[in-house]
Symmetry: D2
Subunit: 403 residues, 4 copies
């Protein structure tokens, strides 16, 4: 259980920290301005293209991808501290490094399971940051945290698959650059529980694809993540070679996709919490109320201390999880992967709530990133299924030893 | 300590409940649609005018105003259960009944302290629901929960007062119908601490008034409350007779304004929590996950039970506060007024959080009122000063007995 | 919903408050000393007999008993504020007034369901404070919060009932003055679920009754409540006329017994919390740490304010419950009776925890009542079944409206 | 940051786990019985001497002492996982291995700062487990978490020091084998703040030492820790060579003593929490309520999952702290040393509370270790100063970067 930075990580951290200071943080107000002036609320601000070019020039590109052929070839433990750093500016940095969800998961899936042709057509431009992608899993009418409930159908018809169903919270699909959807559906409802599902690639412009609207998240469009679309798939036909891996592989692909995504999300949350704590501290030393700085007031001191304790604990658990995934695999790290999903968003939400409170009314408004980051942390208590599902599952594994 | 509904309250409750069922709830989707189609994001949906006309016709009008000459002449205890009912549709019902903040507070101030001319010009059209108003207290650069920090200046110059300063979170000011601002500022910075402040009426179209932008609340514009504006007052000149009550009266007017506002806010929060609980229960009986309805799952049952316990407790404390205000006045009810400000938003926030969680991703989106109501409850932990200020003050009063 | 003190309550409160000041609080150190010097750890300190005599002389006697023939004839709402006052010295005052559990419940049962002979033999001396009694419900081997699980058998054999079974947490049974046990068991395991149980009176000295040991509560013997015994009933024979009410009535007697007991417990908890808050405040103004009194430190102020808010809410809900029981009966007050069982011990536990923390190491020791009161509050989260059972049941009732 | 077990730790763990299974757990009921039958409530059960002999024979002895000359020479990181294991039977295992507080801290102090003669007279028999010792720091009348408040005087008078003062919560002093006290007092109240204090060795039988009573902890005597005594030092004279290190060194000795003690306490708490979780799981699979095992009930599953998440996080933070202390020293690990003091007792308290609740009434009684372990965890929120002091201090360090 060695969490120290090795040489590679150490060097990348230094480079990335410099990149954040020189390019990303200065780009934040620029992006705000460009967004405010944009005609298309879903278009990404122009400054991001510049950040991407610079990041790629510096070799800060596709760091997330463990596959050394297509990506940086880092282990989870090597990438985790870098993901944390990008979490300090989560609306710009992950995208600048081509390390933003849901493309990361989709690229991993394509790198692991894609055919040569699929990789050529979609993985290549994704790796180059030329297109974006979406992941279509959640459905409005069923508890889709239980994959056996998925109602969308993917049916073979000659040389084609026909997709019918309704998805929502399809992250990334509102981004104008989004070119392809990874869609989960059932090819064989009569197969064994976890062999009913398949995943298929659906180009966005395929007839029958209706991107109906962007779902809001506590009032935000979440355009930085390409929004979360409600999509109707109405007799959508794609060539049979658009299937990923094979019929019945959908569930196991989804499982493989999960682990690294959790590490990324959770490390970014740690970075988000660090940024919130920094903002809270800066506010505390500057703001005077009732005759003394907030920094001298006991309640604010408690928030700061408690934030530090919680952040440290969460970070260590995510690092341990990354290390476990690298050494014993996703399956061996199952308990930890669930544990960080349960613990980290709550931690970040707590720290953000206190940082907001320390800022007064300004904390809930648009001049600070706190409220929108809070919404993001809160939403992660529901993403990939509500925490309660993960607690139930973790408990069952814990109890198994005693039965 | 008698909280029972008297005959008046009982009759008004019945009438109001019927009004909610027949007019308000059916108007919710209409308002949503009108808002979605509106050109001006700040304009109120047309259906509200219809609701107002109907409410007035039915005598469900200005119920909040204890002044029997201008309003319904109800006591706080009589009005409280009615305010709770309006909280079940908080974006429509309070406005429909002409009982929406911040006009309620402004009307009370004008009814209590306004001159005949001020009442004619502003109170009358406010009571008739023809114009709206804003309250300008909070400032960006100081901890304005401590009124002695207010930096805005109101200076006498001949027959005029000259207002200079910057306000933000001025609720109501983005509403196109908002015609007048009640502005808190200092007339005499050298006077005794609580005699430095005054309040002045500033017509919105006065030269030098710059409504710069609407502040967001967790991504929402909060247009239903007329938004929360940042406003620059730059050498704004108003006739001397626009002053309310007299120089140095600003602090005590603000104090008088506080108590009833808390009752209103808190009873609406109780109504909001009831609505959230109802939505959670409805969801629980309908949604099946892992083979059984949420309603049969222990964790969801805990949320529901705990919500009921918390709601009951909060309601009773607000009712007691209302009763105290009616019987011993604002001052005698000081501890309770602070207690409900501390306890009720947290209660509502908790219930809403669980209701959101029970709805999965849908809970954070725009198809349900839960996320926006959560943002409202969360913001009330900061409105009128952060809870921490009120806890500090309540504790000091409690400790006084032992010194 | 009128919670005001009527004349009777007002007069009794005054008298009782005076009695507390003149007799009970001064007796606390005396009782401590007598207990420390006692040979029998279960004997009650001699000072209690004096308190009882004085209380009876003053008419502060059997106030709990709504039956006007045998007791004070007060309503629940009238008695509740008196129970709160006794909670300020919970190890002496309830017993001094002959209002201590479990005798109160047993006396109620005997007054309601006892035969003339049963009343003569047991109710009379209980009402006179000459004997004590115990209630034997909980069993070690089954989840006895579900009465259908009760394993103790009460079998008819000629003119006798034969009792066999093991009970624990039989409160009151270690008290040397305890003369009789009210025992719950099954007379007919084949009857309808809630008609299987009966209650029988078992004199303590009946052959076959083995009081094996006193259970500890966080290190305390809880001798003030007569301890909590583990008792083996081994072929214990009592005359058939020792049955209460009739075969199959056990469950409904237990239900009838529950409501008032909750009011008593919960109001005493409110009194306990008030005492804890008072001790915390006194400590806060006296103790200096890091250069200023605790009373001036923000964190301690938060504890005090939050305590006040929670106490007020809990008290109001208990009062409402008492009022409901008086007006619509136990059944109509079911939700509230469960709500106070869920909310009040947690409230008291929280306040006590903070009061302990404010006292430093002294808070957990024997010089202050805080630690032992904490243990009492904590245990009430389990008494009459764990809170979780009550939350589940309350939720089911709440959900019923939506099915 | 490498937390993996090295070979030494791995071998010791295996040996210790076997020792626990073969000797310690079987000794638990034996010790209970011996304690119940003991005449002297403070005497340690005879089985402990056997455990000590066996542990020493196996080389599981003085593992805590980093000094290789006198102890096992393990680093903090090597010892931490062993301390966790002893926490699974905290009333026997630490003492069996001669690794129990407060002797551990006292031995460390003597090993680091003791003179040859002091080591010969006290360290040797302590290392051999022949005598026990106490640490006398806390005082009843001052906030002694701030060392500058210490009121006990240690005054030079010729060849002697004269000690005057009152201490309480002097852990270990009630143990009949306790032979010596390490006493903190002031030699020079006029010196610089942190040079006023000194530490002196006081043999227990020195005239003027009055061990007045044992303080209780939630009803427990805590005899397993040698109790917590109130001691009057009344003109107690010891030879001048009984001073440790030198006049004015008291504060820095206390600081040096702190770090390792925290690691020990916190790792044992992790072990305690693991044991509680195991008991909760075992109960959950065995106990049936309302028709299904607790293990199948959602609320209990949440407790189990949340316990696992919290335990994992706490353990990692303690391990990191141990590693930091080994690599950068106590000072460099200051934040983490405070963080584990704040976070770990709360974690253990939470897990224990849930384990208690899962056991029903039995959870608060003497048949399970849960209630007494809870009392221990709760008390650690106050030991070495209340958590609030540590949060304040941690926050100040965090804020320093932004000033």
């Amino acid at each position: 259980m060695d969490f120290a930075y090795d040489t590679t990580t150490g060097q990348l951290r230094e480079k990335l920290l410099r990149f954040m200071d020189e390019f990303v943080f200065p780009a934040e107000p620029v992006a705000e301005r460009q967004l405010a002036e944009a005609a298309d609320p879903w278009a990404r601000p122009a400054v991001i293209a510049e950040l991407k070019a610079e990041a790629r020039r510096q070799g800060l590109w596709n760091l997330f991808l463990p596959d050394a052929e297509h990506g940086a070839g880092l282990t989870n433990l090597q990438y985790a501290p870098l993901a944390e750093i990008t979490g300090r500016s989560p609306h710009l940095a992950p995208e600048a490094l081509n390390c933003a969800a849901p493309d990361t998961g989709n690229m991993e899936v394509l790198a692991m399971f894609g055919t040569e042709a699929q990789q050529q057509r979609w993985l290549r431009p994704l790796l180059d940051g030329e297109i974006r992608s979406a992941f279509c899993m959640t459905e409005p009418d069923v508890a889709s945290s239980d994959a056996t409930n998925i109602a969308t159908r993917i049916e073979r018809d000659g040389d084609e698959y026909v997709v019918n169903g309704r998805k929502w919270w399809s992250s990334g699909a509102m981004n104008p650059d989004c070119a392809v959807f990874v869609v989960m559906g059932k090819t064989d409802p009569d197969a064994e529980r976890h062999r009913q599902q398949s995943m298929v690639l659906v180009p966005r412009d395929t007839p029958g694809v209706h991107v109906e609207r962007g779902m809001h998240v506590f009032g935000y469009t979440d355009a930085a993540h390409g929004g979360h679309a409600e999509i109707l798939f109405d007799d959508v036909r794609v060539p049979a070679d658009h299937l990923i891996a094979g019929e019945g592989e959908g569930f196991s692909i989804a499982q493989a996709r999960l682990g690294p995504g959790r590490i990324h999300h959770c490390m970014r949350l740690v970075g988000i919490a660090e940024r919130a704590l920094e903002l809270m501290c800066r506010r505390a030393v500057q703001r005077v109320a009732f005759g003394k700085p907030l920094a001298n007031q006991g309640v604010v001191q408690e928030w700061i201390a408690e934030s530090r304790v919680r952040i440290e604990q969460a970070r260590l658990l995510v690092l341990k999880t990354a290390w476990l995934m690298d050494t014993v695999g996703n399956k061996g790290a199952h308990t930890e992967i669930q544990a960080i999903k349960i613990g980290t968003p709550l931690m970040a939400e707590w720290v953000l709530d206190k940082a907001i409170q320390a800022h007064g009314a300004g904390g809930v408004g648009q001049d600070l990133p706190l409220a929108s980051l809070w919404a993001q942390a809160r939403t992660l208590r529901l993403a990939d299924g509500p925490d309660e599902v993960h607690r139930m599952s973790l408990a069952k594994r814990e109890l198994r030893r005693y039965r």
